[in-house]
Amino acid sequence: MASATPAIGAFPSPYSIETPPGCEGWEEMYPYYAIFDERRRQTDENRFWFWNSMHFPVPMPAFDVLCIDSPYQAVGSWQNRVFAVPPAMGIDYRIVNGYVYISGNPVTDPEKIAERAGFFQKRAGYYFENWSELYDNWRVKMEALIAELEELRVPDLPEYEPDEVAFGDERNTAFYEVLDAYGRVVRLGDLMWQHHFEFLLLGYGAYATFVEFCKGNLPDIPDQHIAQMVAGIDVLLFRPDAELRRLARLAIESGVDSAFIEGRSPEEIEAELSQSDPGRGWLRELGEVKDPWFNMATGDGLYHYYRSWLDDPSIPYAALIGHIGALRAGEQIERPTEEIQRERDRLAEEYGALLDEHSRQTFGELLGLSRSVFPYVEEHKFFCDYWFLTRWWNKVREFGALLADHGFLEDGEDVFQLSRHEVSCALDELVLTWATGGQPLGPKHWPDIVARRKHILERLGEWTPPPALGVTPDAVTDPMTIMLWGVTTERVQEWARQQEGGKELAGAAASPGVIEGVARVVRSVNEVADIREGEILVCGSTSPAWAPIFSKIKATVTDVGGVMSHAAIVCREYGLPAVVGTGRATAQIRTGQTIRVDGTAGVVTLLDGRDG
């Protein structure tokens, strides 16, 4: 990795990146095909790769690689093999020092593009025509998948198999049950990712078309106005926080609000509540709300770190304390849905009226289409990334616990330091030695590997990846890269300029307003709890699962994301200035630094000190 290849253009060659000291051998955590390998250098070095910090802001643990492979298998399948998006096949990824870089595979042959266009029009057209019905079916499919995951049991390895195995015909032995359950957990994950991407491209595409149409006819229209015209009013994702607001009111009405004191842990609050009748009543109501509404992840869901509110109730409890405080102070905490609805209709009507007759009709059609696809765009995250994934990680944890019980791991959580294939291998040996009664080697094999990898990941976390590698493209033309990541030609040029470092960061103006304040750089979900009242959140990207902390902060700055990103949506909801897609805010800004966020112009200014 330490070869002396010069940088090509503004971005370094992927083959020139040095391994940080103490991280030697990081490649062992990842599949052979995920590395920038000398045997593929000719092509890999001449492509444009960008850091997918939107989904993978921190170094990948070995097991979590499944959340790279599986999504890219799925997105490629739909995009390339089902819909045959004419100019773009799937997305390749590589890992450098634990960070994930991606690059699209273009289709350039005009004949091939025409051939694919035939498939695409037929198949995508079918989806657009039958969207609502197909999406209804999709939700049923997803709920069934989640139920199947819940029913899946991770068996014990008993000293003696129960009688049913001996006398019945229905039961398999535990060795088979363990291996089968593990295989099924992995496959259910794959299936979720398949469902996840079924609608995603088409949904984003319809919305992106509307955005482009607006910008073509109304070149200066603020991005947030476009989003406001489309955004759903009664969106599933707002439901969890709506339930918290309801519970906050209930706490006050039933006179148990005094239990909610800033600084108390959820356990302490629940302990006090459980001592009175009204308190127990409130806890019962909380129990009703929890499933499904607490199946929110504390992050964007692609790492095992992101637990759900069920696993870690500190976020919803912090929100409850905030809501109760606001209610006591006489503040209005409801989402003003009627007002949002009125404004949404008013914007659509007034913008439509400014267009000529023909454009107005197209505008209306595209707006209608965008509104019909948007529920999926907004809701798939709840079903897939939050509800399913947080529970799926917990299933994997059960295998971790099994391995730990038998000494293969020091701690169940260590399972995530092994790749899915290594876990499969460890389980193989575990059930083998359980069956034979022989001495397993695993307890002497895996713990050292786990310890080394934990150390490497920690050191890699201190390394700052460049926003892009390889050849700077003249233009970004891949519709997926533009739609899903907001990586446009302008953005790449901006990154290239910023390679020099500077006092200003530019991004997309996601939510208007200008504000100065103290930055809080949050690079992993563990740091969310550190956010103080009135700080400016600086992070890779936010997720609406963080919604409750938005009542604490003054503004948001993200590394990656467009105006469709959930950070942008939530900031507009809360009326907070936001600049998204700055490329390197978390690298350039440090916690405690004073910054100015201009969400109207899309500029972040570092006011004291230059660098993080």
Partner: protein
């Protein structure tokens, strides 16, 4: 009084007799838009004794504003000026801060004279305007402007019809119109009144009425004020309202001169004319929503029919 009329009585149809500027101001007044009052001289006044008529109209004006010798602007109001395809902007003379009947008459004569000036002739030839040179004159109450500027009822750069583009600088409009300062530049949404973009410039020069109240003088703006944003949200919102009113009235995009009065911060429209040049939009073939979505995914245009 056959050669003069109050501005408020003029309409578009009067352009042939009173010139474009006076007719357009009459239209604005009729639409209820705040325009400083005044009166107009017809083109035929050029060959007539009009001193007494001017004196009478000026007395009416003086009475209506309860001020003995109110300052006025005297401007040419040419026929063929202020039409959508020909902006005579700056080609004909304006006389500002003129007081008293005698001074007005001098300014009126100078206006007539300027009609034959070399640059105005050249401009008219350039446009191919063949009609005989004739001009009316607009005599309009001055606004002592703390801030003034121009605005377009669309973004003239991008052509966005949902925006009002506002340029503003300290003092009278001369500095902006004459290009002597880089004005503050605001882009404001007609739909939400949000300031979508703004660029605050160093406005280091301003024109004020001269100390004796006659004519104007150019002064330097101290640095601490030169860099200050010269319009607040409230003023911007009001300007957008005015811009929409004017646009609605004329039914096409307008280029509007405006002023913010020093005494009470009231905003006035000083003149308005159609925008003469907008970015050419490539004519687009009618496209259905679905075909646009298809092209978003890179379906070649001919394949999407």
């Amino acid at each position: 009084m056959q050669y003069t009329r109050p501005l408020a009585e003029l309409r578009r149809a009067d352009e042939a007799r009173f010139g474009g500027k006076s007719a357009s101001l009459g239209e604005l007044l009729a639409a209820g838009i705040p325009v400083p009052p005044g009166f107009a001289l017809s083109t035929s006044a050029m060959r007539a004794p009009v001193h007494d008529e001017i004196a009478a109209r000026y007395a009416e004006l003086s009475e209506s504003v309860r001020e003995p010798s109110p300052a006025v602007a005297v401007r040419s109001s040419a026929v063929g000026e202020d039409s959508a395809d020909a902006t005579f902007a700056g080609q004909l003379e304006s006389y500002l801060w003129v007081r008293g009947v005698d001074e007005i008459c001098v300014a009126v004569r100078d206006c007539w004279a300027s009609l034959n000036s070399v640059r105005a002739q050249a401009y008219r030839e350039h446009l191919g305007a063949e009609h005989e040179a004739a001009t009316g004159v607009t005599i309009q109450l001055m606004v002592d402007a703390a801030v003034s500027g121009v605005m377009f009822t669309c973004n003239p750069v991008s052509g966005d019809p949902s925006m009002v583009a506002i340029n503003a600088s300290w003092g009278l409009g001369l500095a902006v119109v004459g290009g002597e300062v880089t004005p503050d530049d605001y882009l404001v949404s007609k739909v939400t009144r949000e300031v979508v973009r703004e660029r605050i410039s160093t406005k280091d020069v301003e024109y004020r009425p001269a100390a004796d109240g006659r004519g104007t003088e150019r002064t330097e703006v101290p640095p601490d004020r030169a860099n200050v944003r010269c319009l607040d949200e409230q003023a911007l919102t009001r300007l957008v309202e005015l811009a929409r009113q004017v646009e609605r009235h004329f039914g096409c995009h307008q280029d509007i001169e405006w002023a913010k009065r020093r005494s009470d911060r009231e905003l006035f429209v000083l003149q308005s004319r159609p925008v003469t040049s907008l970015p050419e939009r490539p004519p687009k073939a009618p496209a259905s929503a679905l075909s646009l979505v298809m092209s978003q995914f890179g379906v070649p245009p001919h394949a999407s029919d």
